[in-house]
């Protein structure tokens, strides 16, 4: 699992590459925690290169969503592959976290 991050126009971007499961969840949680240390309250997860997401991965996403909610901010998940999208649909998480097809649409969502 590789996670790259940048901050642009007040939006925190986290791009995930690989598999977000039990073995990479802790690393991902740390990455989310460290990038949210400031005052940022607009967060975008770029899942274009995320191959797989387990329930431990859902917990990472949920943790981020809750933190952003506490800050009264905006959070979006972008560019999910078919498998990851299905995980969000079956688990019902799609109802509490906005999902967009592209990063561009995601930027609009949190702007």
């Amino acid at each position: 699992m590789e996670i790259s991050q940048k901050v642009e126009n007040g939006i925190v971007f986290l791009a995930f590459n690989g598999r977000l499961d039990g073995s990479s969840a802790t690393e991902a949680e740390q990455a989310v925690k460290s990038i949210l240390e400031g005052e940022n309250n607009r967060l975008l997860f770029d899942f274009a290169k995320l191959e797989y997401l387990s329930s431990a991965g859902l917990r990472v996403v949920l943790g981020a969503a809750k933190e952003i909610k506490r800050r009264d901010g905006k959070f979006v998940l972008c560019a999910l592959n078919a498998y990851v999208k299905e995980v969000f649909e079956v688990s019902g998480f799609g109802a509490i976290i906005p999902i967009t097809d592209s990063v561009e649409a995601g930027i609009k969502e949190v702007s």
Binding site: G22, S55, L58, R59, G63, K66, V90, G92, F93, A95
Partner: protein
Amino acid sequence: MPENSRENESLLLVDDNPTNLQVLYQTLETTGCKLLVAKNGETALSIAQKASPDLILLDIMMPGIDGFEVCRRLKADPATANIPVIFLSALTDTKDKVQGLQLGAVDYVSKPFQPDEVIARVDTHLTIHRLKREVEEKKDALEDELEVVSVVQRRLLPKGLPEIAGLKLAVHYETSLYAGGDYYDLVQMTDDQWGFLVADAEGHSAPAAVMMAMTCALFRSYPQPPTEPGELLYFLNEHLCKVADPSFVTALYVVYDASRRTLKIARAGHPPPMIYQSAEKKAIEYACSGVFPLGIDPYEQVPVTEAELHAGDRILMYTDGITERFNTNGETYGEERLLRQLEAGGDLQPQELLTEIMKDVNNFANGRPADDDQALLLGIVQ
């Protein structure tokens, strides 16, 4: 040199030359360790077995059993295999050093030795040995505790399966580590009405087991018979929201009316049930809308889906440890394979069919151990 911490540690010094042995003794006296000595290989082995020293300094060239053979025998005996051995020898060939280390020695010091160097190496290896032992003891203690959690958890599961008129049940439950987050339960509400719950607390081991136990306690303390699946999940969620952060629990709750063979299904983040329809000879994931998992946020409303079963139909409730079971190629078992297994049941009794399913899942995994808990609850309509 932290002498005070070495009082309870002992070193065994082995050399056939009395002068060498004396120099070594005097050198290591300053460590504060208790010193044992042996002048040949046989005595060294006998003392090692009786006294279990914390470290052995071993000469190689000795009459009788040489140092290499002593080391080989120490490593072959479980009682002495973990004692670190440092070879101390006039043999300075790389070949001899390599042979010594390959036999399981932790270090090799050439003679004539520098006293400070020997003391420093002994100190390092005693520290490593002590830390290794402490880690192992802590690991054993943690495993014992998890074992207790596991035993308590198993007691929370139903003791057996009830006899239900017209519906035969079977269950499979296994945790990936000692304790897990999967949970199933059954409750009778009236003569004909039954509730089946399958839930999965996110994660595994002790934290998941605590959430599983909470879910169990809440389910069994529901103030009335849980005949309305939406209301039950609403109730569980309301209470789990107070404790689950940032974890969550997925759940599938089904109310079965045995006289009318009808189902009422509510789903919170959990895979929908699979139903084999005998008339169509086809198994499907039964589409039912749901809500996000328990323990995250209050629900506005929990949708309920109704269904009807017929003779020969099968209903399977399961946790995603089955469908997300990995094989050695990193592929998951998936829903399709599970559906095909459910279809292929033939005349099998429920428990036999579950055995077949688990056989297929394990064959697929091809030796890769499960990294999540796995639970299945199967009902076949008679």
